[in-house]
């Protein structure tokens, strides 16, 4: 028992060291590896949103589709506050910037947290009326909210704050690959700790049966609101990270498609599995890039293969997704989490099967 524990800790440390080593190796020659770096950074950021969404959908049973809206809030707060003061005249060259905002500048970390808090505040406010709704009604309400936020940020009335439909640019980039990865890891760690705490159990109780949960003394509204606000906080932070990653954002970045991408990650990874969401994020982000060769024209022996052209990648991608959803209906991980035991169990099962086949 304890031997196994030591083995698990050793393996986890090794895995972390290996991940750190790979990141350091990529970072050492960042100009050559910029493509890989950007995929890893984006995967890490999406993983935070996916885990936050999973906390709501998979663990509390609240199906919310407002992720893009909360990400937009976090992104805009972080973006506005981190653009260097001397560059602001360039960014807001058409409409000018509101005088009270002109010299307000925050370093990256406080700006991210403030972005998260703003998203959480909005979540708290809209949570009061809409958390009374159930399943698909809640999804529609949050979807509508996200669109309202987007329209609001792009409206001419907000020109001197959000730069309206022109968007923001000149947002300072991450100084190295470790910054987004470590922030993402800390966010995910905090959510995992919450899910495994007494509050996390209360969330799961609500997911399983809200009437029974209430009769166990769990205040439904308070706990749903709590899950919604905390999930939105981390979604906001991830939005801020995305703004820094992209360096220039506008409201088109935060369309419903973004939410659907996150939903895809959650479903693919397994609704109710944190490690599933993380794996899903890297698979989807990596896979989309890896499939890019379908977009290039291809000729074999001088014959142009007809389907290989821009856009074909998305066809293949969609077909692959359908296959995954058809054959792994519960996602890659289902509701279980990654453990070393499970991993070794997988190999052992395969070996047994092979041995059985030979005999």
């Amino acid at each position: 028992m304890s031997k196994k524990k030591i083995r698990d800790i050793l393996l986890s440390v090794l895995l972390l060291a290996a991940a750190g080593g790979i990141l350091a190796w990529l970072q050492a020659d960042s100009s050559n590896h910029s493509y890989a770096i950007s995929i890893i950074e984006r995967s890490a950021i999406y993983a935070v949103v996916a885990v936050a969404m999973n906390m709501l959908t998979g663990f509390t049973g609240l199906f919310s589709l407002g992720q893009a809206g909360f990400m937009a809030l976090g992104a805009y707060v972080t973006g506005i506050l981190t653009i260097p003061v001397e560059l602001r005249a360039n960014v807001y060259y058409l409409n000018g910037i509101a005088p009270w905002l002109e010299n307000v500048h925050l370093p990256m970390l406080p700006a991210l947290i403030l972005g998260g808090l703003v998203a959480a505040l909005f979540a708290a406010l809209i949570g009061i009326p809409i958390l009374r709704l159930k399943s698909d009604y809640l999804a529609i309400a949050t979807l509508g909210f996200a669109e309202i936020i987007r329209a609001f940020l792009a409206s001419p009335a907000m020109n001197t704050i959000t730069n309206g439909s022109f968007g923001l640019n000149n947002i300072p980039a991450f100084s190295n690959i470790f910054v987004p990865c470590v922030i993402a890891a800390v966010c995910i760690l905090l959510m995992v700790l919450l899910i495994n705490s007494s509050y996390g159990r209360a969330f799961k109780a609500i997911r399983e049966d809200d009437v029974a949960a209430e009769s166990m003394g769990i205040n439904l509204f308070r706990h749903k609101e709590l899950a919604f606000v905390i999930s939105s906080f981390f979604t906001g932070i991830a939005g801020g990270l995305l703004a820094i990653y992209m360096r220039s954002i506008d409201t088109k970045t935060f369309q419903v498609t973004l939410t659907y991408n996150i939903l895809l990650i959650v479903v693919l990874g397994g609704i109710g599995s944190v490690t599933g969401s993380i794996i899903g994020s890297f698979l989807i982000n990596g896979g989309q890039e890896w499939l890019r060769f379908f977009d290039e024209p291809l000729s074999i022996g001088g014959v142009q293969i007809p389907l290989f052209r821009t856009g074909f990648r998305m066809v293949i991608y969609s077909v692959l997704l359908m296959i995954v959803v058809l054959f792994w209906r519960r996602g890659i991980m289902g509701t279980s989490e990654f453990t070393w035991d499970n991993l070794f169990g997988l190999f052992r099962r395969k070996k047994k099967k092979q041995a059985g086949g030979e005999a």
Binding site: L190, L193, L194, S197, S198, Y199, R201, A202, K204, A205, E208, D209, V211, A212, A213, E214, S215, M216, G217, I218, N219, L220, L226, I230, T335
Partner: protein, 282 residues
């Protein structure tokens, strides 16, 4: 009179034009087992839901240890529709939510078992400890109060051992056999630390042997946890054996109350159950 635990005063629950419970007044005293019986559709579960706060009664008052937990009079369009036997008097509504009522010490089980199906037996009981945990979301997330978490786990484990469920603690709740699921649901209710336990058809779907065991079990937990028990049940053997008092409901109205002996010989009860026609009576 012994100490009053639960008092329902002229409880009326009306859904649209249907009066499901009509002017029900009843008492449960300390350490007493009280049964609520009646034919199907008599309004027994509705009466239960009026105690636990799932419904707010249309009219009437429920108090627990002398403290009012629910009080209401017909509001809005119900004012015109109200069709209860007891004339409604305007009162200031006071409606506690189910979780507040559980916190005060009323625990319940459900007619169709409502366990947290995908969670383990241990987690099912542990969740009941959440409401009294002295921690907030930050201290719980950052593991600042490990002693509190350890206490919750220890108490839950003790309860499972007392209820002979300890060997199933890591099983998924929905995978347990039916009888054990019933037992687990009662154990989970006990974990909230109640002084009044509401059992909604605890013997539903049980065979005579299991029903007998349940009868002993209910008597035992009343003694061990110093509980008052208020239950709905159709198995008359069980009801007659362990109830101190019985209330009989028919079409939402209380038609009889008394000790098991009195009820067994009550003409109106026999009539309600066997459906003796009024013509024959005349």
């Amino acid at each position: 009179m012994a100490n009053n635990v639960l008092h329902m005063e002229t409880i009326t629950m009306q859904f649209g034009g249907v009066v499901a419970v009509n002017g029900l007044t009843l008492d449960v005293n300390e350490n007493e087992i009280v049964a609520l019986i009646g034919p199907n559709g008599a309004g027994k579960t509705t009466a239960f839901n009026c105690v636990t706060g799932i419904y707010a009664p249309t009219f009437g008052e429920v108090s627990f240890h002398g403290e009012t937990i629910l009080r209401n009079s017909p509001q809005g369009k119900m004012k015109k529709l109200y069709a209860g036997d007891v004339p409604a008097v305007d009162v200031k509504p006071l409606i506690k939510t189910p979780d507040e009522i559980t916190k005060m010490g009323i625990a319940r089980t459900f007619q169709n078992i409502r366990l947290f199906g995908n969670l383990t037996v241990f987690e099912n009981v542990l969740i009941a400890k959440h409401m009294r945990a002295k921690q907030n979301v930050f201290s719980a997330t950052l593991r600042l109060n490990r002693a509190e978490e350890a206490r919750m786990r220890r108490e839950s484990m003790e309860l499972l051992e007392e209820q002979n469920l300890a060997q199933y603690k890591d099983e998924i709740a929905s995978s347990l056999p039916y009888g054990l699921q019933r037992r687990l649901e009662i154990a989970r209710a006990l974990a909230t630390g109640p002084s009044l336990l509401l059992l909604d058809e605890p013997a539903a779907g049980m065979n005579p042997q299991e029903t007998m065991e349940l009868t002993e079990f209910i008597a035992q937990i009343r003694k061990d946890y110093h509980l008052s028990v208020f239950m709905i049940e159709h198995h008359m053997d069980l009801v007659m054996e362990i109830s101190d008092r019985i209330y009989v409901l028919d079409f939402g109205r209380l038609i009889a109350q008394g000790t098991p002996d009195e009820i067994q010989n009550n003409d109106r009860v026999i009539e309600a159950y066997l459906g003796v026609s009024h013509d024959a009576e005349d």
